[in-house]
């Protein structure tokens, strides 16, 4: 066993401490979803599963979550379609407006949410469009678009263009090449882009707050409830989402690792 000097241990110890720091609020949130509390969920009063069992006891929490899910799904669909098209164009084709497109996609990521939120709210107000589900979805598609493009773009760049040439060489017209070769090979990237887009939409607060009118999303619910005290049901939802997300991420990574070791063995 090699002798481990302090210098060698410093980084790993630091990393562990940093991880603990990062995960503390998560642990706290999950823990307090089991708190036997009634109104304010700030003091530990005992362990219970009833919030998990009857999460929709607080109808307002469930309504907010439902809204967030609906918004997330619809925004994701639009953002993914528009974003995938842009990503393919940026990687595969050379055209004069490249710089413009790159900049137009980067700027939303660099613009503070207050500016985006206020701007959109002003636009809708001037256009006479009432704030509600539609305006929220429009806003979400807008800021998710850039993230979808970045994610899919990375995947398109790893796609060997010779494969599409081979498809054409083998009598597939451009539409067939796209359907049978390009799209299937891009699918993992498109799926991660969609998941990212959904996550961003589900967790968005500032832009939504400016453009939601009377509609409540899950983050908006928490913000408003923060003054009085966030009920444990909200913790339940957040913990469930967290565990689902972690599960998906870990599952894909483990699946990838298994696939790689299977290929290596054969």
């Amino acid at each position: 066993m090699k002798k481990l000097s302090f210098g060698k241990l410093a980084l790993p110890i630091y990393a562990v401490l940093a991880m603990v720091f990062l995960l503390t609020p998560i642990a706290y949130t999950i823990m307090f979803s089991f708190n036997d509390s009634t109104r304010s969920n700030t003091v530990w009063e005992g362990f219970t599963l009833r919030h998990w069992a009857q999460v929709c006891n607080r109808q307002d929490v469930c309504d907010a979550v439902t809204n967030s899910i609906v918004i997330g799904v619809i925004s994701t669909i639009f953002a993914t379609i528009l974003g995938t098209a842009l990503a393919i164009a940026l990687v595969r084709y050379s055209f004069r407006a490249r710089s413009l497109v790159s900049l137009s996609l980067f700027l939303p990521m660099a613009t503070p949410e207050v500016v985006l939120g206020a701007g959109l709210a002003g636009l809708f107000f001037n256009a006479g469009v009432g704030a509600g589900m539609t305006t929220i979805i429009i806003a979400h598609v807008m800021f998710c678009l850039s993230f979808v493009v970045v994610t899919v773009k990375a995947r398109v760049q790893t796609l060997d263009p010779t494969l599409e040439e081979a498809g054409a060489d083998l009598y597939a017209n451009p539409r067939q090449v796209f359907r049978k070769i390009t799209l299937p090979l891009l699918m993992p990237g498109i799926i991660s882009a969609a998941l990212l887009s959904f996550a961003l939409s589900f967790d968005d607060f500032i832009i939504t707050y400016f453009n939601s009118g009377s509609v409540t999303t899950f983050p908006k619910y928490i913000y408003v409830a923060a003054a009085r005290g966030v009920p444990a049901e909200a913790n339940v939802i957040a913990s469930a989402v967290f565990m689902l997300a972690i599960f998906i991420v870990l599952a894909t990574q483990i699946r990838g690792a298994i696939k790689r070791s299977k290929l290596a063995k054969s």
Partner: protein, 305 residues
């Protein structure tokens, strides 16, 4: 940039041969571009227009007329100078702390753990795990953990770091703490992407040429990781400057820690003072655009995405 990390390690520079643009390019980019034009560019323009409006003579709340009232900007700057200074001060401090905390972490995962990609990926997942839980709840968690009755504050009292009548929540420090925490992943990911591609042989060559570890870091590692540091800094500083949740009274702040965002929200949604809110937003956006322009001048637009 940073978000390449989301895609799972994209190549650094795109050298692929491209086909010439034809009609298909229009089909691909036009829907997205039009959407952005409508719902990103237009709102920004609309902000500018609103920022120049003047109150309607009728005096009704929320009623304004189109005008070229540049005076709104002057008003906003003088009225909200404390918030402006505070926002950029917080952003600067939080960015520096985030960098200090993230760099060793990114270095550890990106350089030291290259031998075990599975553990690398696992740790990376843990780093972005906070993203998977609502950031409002994360902030509330800290608010409870560091609240006036918490063991943390008791410790500070015992160590005489805090006076017996002062507390942590509601101070500048608390807001900076919250901002730093929430944006660590934004700093870590670009650093990681950059350090992961750092060629170890440079470090070995430097050691071979008689440089001790401190010198190797200062003269080789640090300069080579500069692109990651810059993009991480941009990705952290900009959103922080516009944030207001952490600083909010209901979270980690108090009425004395309001930021630009707080004022925009107040003016827009509560006071219905649209010109004021818009002018402030335009100001914030302008300052950020200046920073982005510096960055783009340095590295061009190809690397942005």
């Amino acid at each position: 940039m940073a978000f390449a990390a989301f895609g799972g390690g994209a190549p650094a520079k795109d050298n692929s041969t491209k086909r010439k643009g034809g009609p298909i390019v229009l089909v691909l980019i036009l829907p997205g571009l039009i959407y952005l034009g409508l719902f990103f560019m237009t709102p920004l323009l609309s902000l500018l227009v609103t920022a120049l409006e003047s109150p309607d003579p009728s005096g009704a709340i929320g009623a304004y007329l189109y005008d070229l009232n540049f005076g709104n900007f002057a008003t906003v700057v003088t009225q909200y100078m404390p918030q402006i200074i505070r926002s950029f001060g917080y952003a600067f401090a939080a960015t520096v702390f985030a960098l200090a905390i993230s760099y060793p972490l990114a270095y550890f995962i990106g350089v030291k753990l290259r031998g075990s990609p599975l553990i690398q990926r696992l740790l990376l997942t843990l780093v972005i795990a906070p993203f998977f839980i609502s950031f409002l709840l994360r902030t509330i968690a800290w608010k409870q953990l560091l609240s006036d009755n918490s063991g943390f504050v008791a410790l500070l009292h015992n160590l005489h770091i805090l006076a017996p009548t002062s507390y942590f929540i509601g101070t500048d420090a608390a807001v900076i703490f919250g901002l730093t925490y929430n944006f660590i992943p934004f700093m870590t990911l670009p650093l990681f992407t950059n350090l992961e591609r750092l060629d170890i042989r440079f470090l070995e060559a430097a050691s071979d040429l008689y440089a001790n570890p401190r010198k190797v870091f200062r003269k080789i590692t640090l300069p080579l990781s500069m692109p990651g540091i810059i993009s991480g800094t941009l990705l952290t500083f900009i959103p922080i400057a516009g944030d207001y949740v952490n600083a909010s009274r209901d979270f980690l702040g108090s009425s004395k820690t309001s930021m630009i965002g707080t004022m925009v929200e107040a003016d827009f949604l509560q006071n219905w003072n649209y010109p004021s809110a818009s002018a402030l937003s335009v100001l914030l956006m302008a300052l950020i655009l200046i920073m982005v322009t510096f960055y783009v001048r340095r590295s061009g637009t190809e690397d942005l995405l």
